[in-house]
Symmetry: C2
């Protein structure tokens, strides 16, 4: 099992900001990524639709017989984690729980904020995960719907529209003196500098992608699943649309070039009966 | 045939800004609308995927035996009009040609601009349609990817982020002294005042949705298809996801309340063999 890959899925290319940390923290692991770029984004869609899309996207990855699946999408982790864990025959790790755990640890009871898509914030998944760890923890949730299109368009942290949008969304966080802010969307790490300079150096920024990668390493250690192969891990990417755009925009998230991207036709992931896979 | 409905499809709810004009210009016609809110937006996706989604979305509407189908989506009109006209057994009218025609008429040879999504502008469909009418016409194309999420979030023309974004995108249009600007996306009419006040009152703004509604009326007149029923036309809406959000956000596009919205499951439109329909 240790030589089988870690599978990662996302609604599009944002999950590559999680893969970036997986590659650093687990450099010997082979990774297989599927981005559902034909149906991106998930963040404005309903729970049943997100669950259906997430199951189809993760289901495609079962053909690689992964030892573990990472839901590298905050919206899918927030809305569909129960469905994924129930339906998939391998362990599934999402980004919400590891992010919530790190935030609670750093907040030490002071107010913490969670920022994300409309669907992630509306689901209250972070709030639930945080309250399960620390029932009295004050949580300030804030949806920031423009952050994803700003990042996708390639605007950086010095862009005037980015700065104004950060100020507009995060003013209530500053007014409430939050001590920690969780980047509850895989696009947001690319706006980290703008968020950090607006909120000030005393505010901790939690990157759910990094925390998730640490959680994956811990899981594999505990279950004897770490790769014993000494060579650097490979990475293969699959997308449901527009491989050129994925390669181009995605390399900014990964901070390295994307070597292998393959287009997957709908017949291979939409409404496909579940494939046989490794036992849980 | 005159008593059968006009069918309208869009990637989501933007097409309701076209329906608004159809309701005003053709108040006796019954309308059936399908918004593919599960897979919205189309504007960042590839031509084959947009064509596939558009055919499935329009295909669902054939079950209502429409006399005409309106592609009330600039991206679908720009990327998939040939596929739609080839595959569908009823006449199809898109938003690109009527918008281009009005723009050429108003520009009188002076520079005209087309603004739209990344996919619409990248397709060069407006440029081709304009050049077919006036080969020497100067055209300034400009993708404005943030306009759709700004409108979807409910920001209005007085919002500071909207104003800054309008200035940022449209500065080259002002520098080139365009005489006409075509709103090449069905979300953009909701930003009309901000666009108009930045460009100044001497610049004509073409709303492709209004021009398309006039083209539909002309087509029905020429083919004897106008409703002979004296009663006000009905309107039924179908969506592939999130009917509540559609009702709520969509009424701003329609400028009236949405009375009937029904959720359509994927089985009814994804990969469904074409249904028998009225003859062309």
């Amino acid at each position: 099992m240790s030589s089988t890959p870690i599978a990662v899925f996302d609604s599009g290319l944002g999950g590559l900001s999680v893969v970036r940390h997986l590659r650093q923290i687990l450099p010997r692991e082979d990774l297989v990524y599927f981005g559902d770029t034909a149906r991106v984004p998930y963040g404005i869609k309903s729970r049943p639709t997100v669950a259906q899309f997430a199951l189809e996207t993760a289901g495609f990855l079962l053909s690689f017989e992964p030892k573990l699946i990472v839901a590298a999408c905050n919206t899918a982790s927030a809305l569909a984690m129960d469905d994924l864990r129930r339906e998939l025959p391998v362990p599934v790790i999402g980004v919400v729980e590891p992010g919530a755990r790190a935030a609670v640890r750093l907040a030490e009871g002071d107010p913490l904020a969670v920022i994300g898509t409309e669907a992630t914030i509306g689901s209250e998944a972070y709030r639930r995960a945080i309250r399960a760890l620390a029932p009295e923890q004050p949580v300030v949730p804030k949806a920031c719907p423009l952050f994803v299109p700003l990042v996708e368009e390639g605007r950086d942290c010095n862009d005037p529209i980015v700065k104004l949008t950060v100020e507009t969304y995060l003013a209530p966080l500053r007014a409430q003196h939050v001590k920690v802010v969780v980047l509850g969307c895989t696009h947001y790490p690319l706006l980290r500098d703008a968020i950090g300079s607006y909120l000030g150096p005393e505010v901790h920024i939690v990157d759910s992608g990094r925390e998730t990668s640490l959680a994956v390493r811990q899981h594999l250690r505990e279950h004897g699943g770490l790769s014993t192969d000494g060579t650097p891990g490979s990475m293969r990417c699959y997308v449901s649309d527009n491989p050129q755009r994925f390669e181009q925009v995605g390399s900014r998230f990964l901070t390295e070039a994307i070597e292998y991207v393959e287009l997957v036709e709908p017949e291979r992931y939409v409404n496909v009966p579940r494939l046989p896979s490794t036992a849980k």
